[in-house]
Symmetry: C2
Subunit: 415 residues, 2 copies
């Protein structure tokens, strides 16, 4: 800025230590809890010139995004959109539109994100019924049913499909049937599952389901895919009070996304929607079955390699996410120094533990574009080198060999 | 998607009319109420590979964005950030963090966005004191003072600096001094002013100020620049109840943006922040004075040209925005057909009227990259052609000549 006398003098926080030049991020292999790597086609799509948010060409793009999102959520829900905010905005929208003061809401809590849902329920004036399970374990369907048996019917049952803080995959189908019988809305956080593992909104009787773009969809963060069943829409219509949020009021947002209306509500994040459309096209081209299989295979190989390094799975057996691989650190392994070395020397990001798990687990994301054999091998190789230097490992190739076995089904040379 | 038996069948809304191919938007000259044109450097910046939202390189970028935003807001406010949502999210955050149930809030209403603020105040349980003025006129400072004289002290006085629905620029300095005397927080919507016309947060005693990226900053929509004075921060600390929004709870958001903390709250929209940083660098290179001058000059030339076509300014004289030029349509000019022809034949987007002004005014944005002489001339030429064909104009060049006069100060050939 050229300083001139008419501009107010800057008092604090205004002098840069060095000039602010072009931003050139260092290369990063993103294997943390999100964002995941983004395909160059998505980045290129985001660099296209803008259209207005009411331009017929942009409205057509919105319709296409809706269609691709329905395939991904495996739903026929008319209301299937991308909300203008991150996954956390999706969580907030999913709660504030349904929870009115005094409403009882059952929330399954076995990690950070379940706890966050309960907090938001309280901020709506709702009454959270917290059904807790140890971090790393699922919330047992029976426990949920018993809690409702004691507390009486609830308006909403809210569960996290993929607990990003622990790597646990919550089973949903049984609770979906139970909610339908009870007349409760079934709300599911699918931030770390959508596009990475099976999620069948219609078949599992899910009424409200949201996700984020920066996990298994491999699109930058900034949008929250969201789908509502007709039962959920009816619940919004039947509200006694207005939604406490205007920005996230889905009855207003719906009028912009409805093809027949397109009523202006707020300016849509145009470039982000360009990116999401391309990310969804990539998913469509790969096919859901192939994509889910890829996530499973790479996760199994990674876990085999980590196991060979002495890092045991944190999440309960049979309920481990392929997208977010949590492992317990043995006492001799320091958390922060290893992650710092991974980032600074190898350009690899993995995640540490949240809350009480800080320093105790690692969270390794293999989501979307990040779930590739080459990335699994690169990470295991880097860990081997770090472990060898610190004398936590004696033989190079230990983890890679275990991964190779997993990739080949354990078989050797076949004649 | 390859159909397989394991996937739930799609019931409705799932079959595309045609295959969803690569998205190639038609070229558009964006001269509506936003989004504005985006500089190729900004689009390129957004296409850079991602960093994690806690990566040291990304945290440095956030610090730089804060520094550049402080220069732009002309403030020393420590709390100066880019919120993860569009301008409307900025509005909601600015209200829900300060308005508690029962709080009286004075809202100036002379268009759509003032009315929206009053709606949000109600959704917070606050008591909006609506000070209304006819659309197209400012809210008179005296009227505001009288209203407070009658109603007693208010917690917040909320005004729209640049009413995007009418093209009116609201004077702020006098009310800022008055608020400071009264002990009210002064809240300003600067969505269509920040970066296009003078806005001096500190000198005008503004406590809460938000904007959007897609107007005079010429960055795609998706972020809301936001600055809070220390008085505003103290008001947040003094709240009796938790903020009703978790996603927009600025006490939590602050801990992520604070250099000393960087506590995870939600995943920042990485690519959007890349883009914003570059858009702010472009502003810094141009200089605020030069930028404001450019917006003024192009607005004057546009209005001269439109005047020659019989389109009179809608907003009150002396209070017309250079960024959003509203003109009244004479009775013989049809709104929608002309705008449709502009878009479809010329690729030019301008805005129509909102609410009761639908069909009665046009809103022509000259914001950021959209405020260029060549764009003014291109629009006037297109309007001339359309008007000539419809026999609303007899002489080609009428509007262009008026604009040329404005650009040259009315002078002819000087020897």
């Amino acid at each position: 800025m050229r300083a001139t006398s008419r501009l107010a003098p800057m008092k604090r926080h205004s002098m840069p230590a060095e000039p602010i030049g072009e931003f050139v991020p260092s290369p990063r292999l993103l294997l943390g809890p999100g964002p995941s790597l983004v395909h160059p086609r998505v980045l290129r799509a985001m660099a296209a010139p803008l259209l207005g948010h009411l331009d017929p060409e942009f409205l057509k793009l919105m319709t296409e995004v809706q269609l691709l999102l329905r395939r991904l959520f495996q739903t026929g829900n008319r209301f299937t959109i991308a909300l203008s905010g991150t996954g956390s905005a999706g969580m907030e929208a999913s709660l504030v539109n349904f929870v009115e003061p005094g409403d009882p809401v059952l929330v399954g809590i076995n990690g950070v994100f379940g706890a966050r849902m309960a907090t938001i329920v309280e901020r709506c004036g709702g009454k959270p019924i917290r059904v807790e399970a140890p971090w790393g374990r699922i919330v047992e369907p029976e426990t949920i049913k018993e809690a409702i048996g004691r507390a009486g019917p609830v308006k909403v049952v809210a569960l996290v499909h993929a607990e990003t803080s622990t790597g646990v995959e919550q089973p949903l189908a049984e609770i979906g049937r139970f909610c339908r019988e009870q007349g409760s809305l079934f709300l599911v956080d699918a931030v770390t599952s959508l596009g990475g593992l099976p999620l069948e909104v219609d078949r599992w009787n899910i009424d409200v389901c949201y996700s984020g773009t920066q996990k298994c969809l491999s699109c930058p963060p900034g949008l929250a895919p969201l789908t509502l069943s007709d039962r959920a829409l009816a619940a919004i219509k039947a509200r006694k009070t207005p939604c406490q949020s205007w920005y996230l009021d889905l009855s207003l947002v719906a009028d912009y996304w409805a093809e027949a209306k397109r009523t202006y509500h707020h300016t849509a994040p145009i470039s982000m929607l360009y990116g999401l459309r391309e990310a969804l096209r990539l998913i469509d081209e790969e096919g859901l079955e192939a994509r889910f299989g890829r996530h499973r295979t790479n996760s199994e190989a990674l876990m085999a390699g980590l196991g060979a390094l002495g890092l045991a799975p944190f999440a309960e057996e049979g309920h481990r996410l392929p997208s977010l691989n949590a492992v317990t650190l043995p006492a001799h392994i320091d958390d922060a120094p290893v992650r710092t070395e991974l980032l600074q020397r190898y350009g690899i990001e993995i995640g540490g533990g949240l809350g009480s798990l800080q320093g105790k687990i690692w969270r390794i994301g293999l989501m979307g574009e990040s779930s590739q054999k080459s990335h699994v091998l690169t990470l295991l190789s880097a860990l081997e080198e770090i472990f060898l230097r610190r004398r936590w490992l004696s033989r190079p190739g230990t983890a890679l060999e275990a991964a190779a076995r997993a990739y080949t089904g354990g078989g050797g040379f076949q004649t």
